[in-house]
């Protein structure tokens, strides 16, 4: 799909918000793809990590509907490998927070099967809810 956009749209409010929340200069990304290459869950993603940051760069908010940002496991492989020093994990978190801070949970606590709650250790629930439930 081709995007036609004037340069000023690249500095949309969306980009600024993501940059502010993540503290990262997303414009520095030159699409080398190292992040996508190292991402352990890339196979399941619809958008590759490098594509996600590209969407942010051009201010395309449809990135918020991608499965990718919720599949991210915060493993920081991308963050430590980026040659431009962009912490992509923080960008992913910012994108998640744009939904979570609207009080929209990504997982429904009541739908977690009882058998799972029986065996899941606290660490799994705490970290999962931290990333997937409203902030």
């Amino acid at each position: 799909m081709r995007h036609k956009f004037p340069i000023k749209d690249a500095q949309s409010a969306f980009v600024e918000k993501v940059q502010e929340l993540s503290g990262q200069e997303v414009m520095k990304c030159y699409q080398c793809g190292k992040c996508s290459g190292g991402c352990p869950v890339a196979e399941q993603m619809d958008l590759m990590p490098n594509q996600v940051i590209r969407y942010v760069q051009i201010g395309d908010t449809s990135v918020l509907e991608a499965k990718t940002i919720w599949l991210c496991a915060s493993c920081f492989t991308c963050a430590v490998r980026c040659p431009q020093g962009i912490d992509l994990a923080k960008v992913m978190e910012a994108l998640r927070l744009l939904s979570l801070r609207k009080n929209i949970d990504h997982i429904d606590l009541s739908k977690i099967p009882k058998e799972e709650l029986e065996i899941l250790p606290q660490i799994a629930l705490v970290s999962s809810f931290r990333k997937m439930t409203s902030a």
Binding site: E20, L21, S22, G23, P40, V41, E43, Q44, L71, A73, S74, C75, F76, T77, A79, V80, D87, A89, K90, E93, A94, L97, H106, I107, I112, E116, I119, L120, P121, Q122, I123, A124, L125, V126, S127, S128, R130, K131, M132, A135
Partner: protein, 300 residues
């Protein structure tokens, strides 16, 4: 050496085996780990939003507990707690304004001064005890046991808090070797297990686990050793889901590093807490003549 110890919520129940084996092994090496009073859940994973201070309260509150005792060091066993506490600590040490706001918010507590150091038991083993001393303490060398160390993500990443090299860490390798076992180096040793995806998306974890374990197995590994209760849940308990999806998969026992140490030190099997390991490690240990008694695993 006496040091404050931060367990983390999972070590009191689901990962009790990590705690019991660690405390026993520590005692044997002259490390007395004293549990912090009134500690709270560290709130893993470290919050990545630049403006989020509320979620820093949980880890910093624990560091205040250390400070209250007049101590300046705290040791953890769990990789995720280590990462969360250490990153929060670094954040407030480098930002006076954030620290002031946090201290003001936590008005029931004394102000955190930023002097506490967060360490992982592996660092104490390497730097304060030394692997040579550990080697001396081994009564039952793990001869013939092929172990693949698995580091996961949060022990070594990001660099500012990592306790070893991010791409080629060796601390678990060195430890396992000092216990007499054969170390199997595996390229996926720092690949993420899927972490918290295990709650809402265990398919992802099943795939990650399959890849990580079969990679180690293809290199001859008979067991995995690790440090994190979440990695342990994913690589051990979730083998059930891996089996269901991949019919060629063969189960492989997973140990905490302190469990292997306890076995090598010839400690009582109760201390090792092998009952809580999902994939039964006893057949393997029996085969390698590392346990003697014919122990029945209690019903779970």
């Amino acid at each position: 050496m006496k040091i404050s110890y931060y367990p983390g919520c999972t070590l009191k129940k689901n990962a009790l085996n990590l705690e019991t084996s660690a405390l026993a092994v520590g005692k044997e090496l002259g490390i007395e780990m004293v549990e912090l009073p009134r500690w709270n859940c560290c709130g893993t994973v470290f919050t990545l939003a630049s403006d989020d201070l509320m979620r820093q309260a949980a880890p910093i509150r624990n560091l205040i507990r250390v400070q209250e005792l007049g101590e300046n060091q705290v040791v953890t066993l769990c990789s995720m707690c280590y990462n969360t506490l250490k990153r929060a600590n670094l954040l407030v040490k480098n930002d006076n304004e954030k620290l002031a706001t946090l201290n003001e918010f936590m008005d029931q507590e004394e102000d955190y001064r930023g002097d506490v150091k967060v360490i992982h038991l592996l660092e104490i083993l390497k730097n304060d005890v030394g692997f040579d001393k550990i080697r001396e303490k081994v009564k039952k060398p793990l001869n013939g046991l092929k172990v693949a160390p698995y580091y996961g993500c949060l022990l070594t990443r990001p660099k500012e808090i990592g306790l070893d090299d991010m791409e080629e860490p060796t601390i678990l390798h060195d430890l396992v070797e000092s216990l007499g076992a054969e170390v199997i180096d595996d390229p996926l040793k720092t690949e993420c297990c899927g972490a918290y995806q295990t709650v809402s998306n265990k398919e992802v974890v099943a795939d990650r686990t399959y890849n990580i374990l079969t990679s180690a197995q293809s290199r001859g590994a008979e067991a995995i050793v690790l440090s994190c209760p979440l990695c342990d849940f994913n690589l051990d308990h979730r083998q059930k889901d891996v089996e269901e999806k991949y019919h060629d998969f063969e189960k492989i026992p997973v140990f905490y590093f302190t469990q292997l140490m306890a076995i090598a030190f010839g400690m009582d099997e109760n201390v090792c807490g092998l009952d809580l390991n999902y994939v039964n490690p006893l057949p393997l240990l029996r085969k390698k003549k590392l346990i003697h008694k014919k122990r029945k695993r209690s019903e779970r």
